[in-house]
Symmetry: C2
């Protein structure tokens, strides 16, 4: 955009009531844009929108993206789609194998078809570092060797990426695809920190840990994530793909130390064993972020800061640990 | 298998009435196996089965794999699934964007779910060299850099590969994935040779060619393809992926020369221009076949032999050029 010019854009955010989606929506509203949330509220929560629930520039549509007709009727009159809606339950993929297929692949197909039919020119997509499977190249760059999928979640996100790329090549949309590490921060709703805290609030003396605690992962603060998403509201590139993470990693052990210290607890740790927390768990996720760095983006939070802030936020917002009403 | 022991296996072949599928089915019957064809006959033809249509070890089920319940009820009591059913109409992807999604991704999901629910342990899958998009690494090995999809067809096949890999990692199936170049030979039903011959039989004096004729491709004879498929009826590997092609390439110009010579014609050539025949056409497909070679397989036909045999077969079986009854 030319300097000094401000554009207010009409934006749809699928999954806009979810963890990352709601953080993005609040930022976009704050920046002056017009936002339409599309969410089926299966995991998204009205609470996440706080005081902005009735914002004059916000519209909320409760539809399920697996319904192609409803998607096509709803996803109209916007300039950009942030497609964040997904089944993000990586661990329990095998308990409901249709879910990844329907929520991640079919939904993306329906979003792309709605964009084609309604002439919406741009999509920004939240993919995952899980698409690299158990790659041997670490830190993993975007052009790592052709990956082998190790989870239904990763497979379904790769499928969605592939569909988006085909629509770009077909000249129908432009796209930025982000491959996220796990995201932490305010409105965090599920993952190892909620698992641990739920256990510890029930029994402060013992913590059961999946795997042997040595799994090495990278985490990004949601504010850093939203910075990157917003930077790609417009783009000169027809298509680009960026890893999104931080330059360092931690082990599950590190995270346990910070969480328990923040909670003032010293529980006995019990381990299920093995270097995987579950089938398809990648024991090592560390993305190379040189490419997105070159574009000017820089993570501002360390993983330690993110873990501690997330722990504090959950302690102050315990409703997030309760089953949805 | 121990030497000297012969196992007759129960095998399902999806798309078994199609070009490659019918060639495979006839070979499997000839080898003594029990075969169930699953085909929706949208492009598959009863004619392809010839005298074996009423073979005592052959069962034919007309169902559509997009119907999950029907798939689950039909795909039972077999040891191996050759999953060849697909929308193979690469060129016209954008005329019906749902087709690749439904026939290639959703169908594969339904096949895998049926295999999980009915405890069928092995799948052999026909993917495509198109999954490499416009890779810069040529000849292209299986572990080429993370590809960017350029067609809905390639994207949908990559999605299917990814789903299969996740099911392998989940311990539910073993798999061999083959990435084919274009296949030629008896029962060939669509592609540049039928396009050219249909034109030339109508008007022997002129041939309209998509692109500039310089597109460089590799083609494999269906007998060589079936050899590789049959070699992987059983495997010691949980999961492997092989390119399937020949070591040389030809241009569209070469192919035109062989086809017209075989037909005894010297038409004027007209070119639509550009280095792509259509959106998503890869101007250069040349797969590295070192890996499958190491496993003992070797292509027996040159591309020239394949093109000439295909031309002759079509001249003797002109029904293949007619719309299906």
């Amino acid at each position: 955009m030319p300097k000094g010019t401000i554009y207010y854009v009409k934006i749809a955010v699928t999954g806009g009531a979810g963890f990352i989606g709601s953080n993005l929506v609040l930022r976009l509203l704050n920046d002056g844009h017009y936002v339409t949330i599309i969410d089926n509220f299966s995991t998204g929560r009205i609470e996440n929108l706080g005081d902005d629930l009735h914002h004059p520039r916000l519209v909320i549509n409760r539809i399920d993206l697996t319904d192609g007709d409803a998607t096509c009727k709803t996803l109209t009159d916007v300039d950009v789609v942030y497609h964040l809606a997904a089944n993000a339950d990586v661990r329990d993929g095998w308990k409901h194998p249709r879910k990844d297929h329907e929520q991640n692949i079919m939904a993306t197909h329906n979003v792309l078809e709605a964009m084609r039919l309604n002439s919406i020119p741009r999509i920004v997509f939240s993919s995952t570092g899980s698409v690299y499977g158990e790659t041997k190249v670490v830190p993993t760059p975007e052009n790592a060797p052709f990956p082998i999928q190790t989870s239904l979640y990763g497979a379904s996100k790769l499928a969605a990426e592939a569909l988006i790329q085909a629509y770009v090549e077909g000249g129908l949309v432009t796209a930025t695809i982000f491959r996220f590490v796990s995201i932490l921060g305010p409105r965090y709703s599920h993952g190892h920190i909620t698992d641990f805290m739920r256990q510890l609030l029930r029994n402060p003396d013992e913590l059961m840990v999946l795997g042997d605690g040595s799994q090495t992962k990278s985490y990004l603060h949601v504010n850093d994530c939203v910075d990157a998403l917003v930077n790609h509201l417009v783009s000169r590139d027809k298509m680009c793909t960026y890893n999104l993470g931080v330059d360092h990693t931690i082990t599950v052990h590190d995270s346990i130390g910070w969480i328990t210290a923040e909670m003032g607890l010293t529980p006995t740790l019990k381990f299920s064993g093995g270097n995987q927390g579950w089938i398809g768990d990648n024991p090592l996720i560390h993305l190379d972020i040189a490419a997105i760095r070159k574009s000017g983006w820089e993570p501002k939070y360390s993983i330690k800061e993110s873990v501690i802030e997330t722990t504090r936020w959950i302690l102050a917002n315990r409703w997030v640990l309760e089953p949805k009403a």
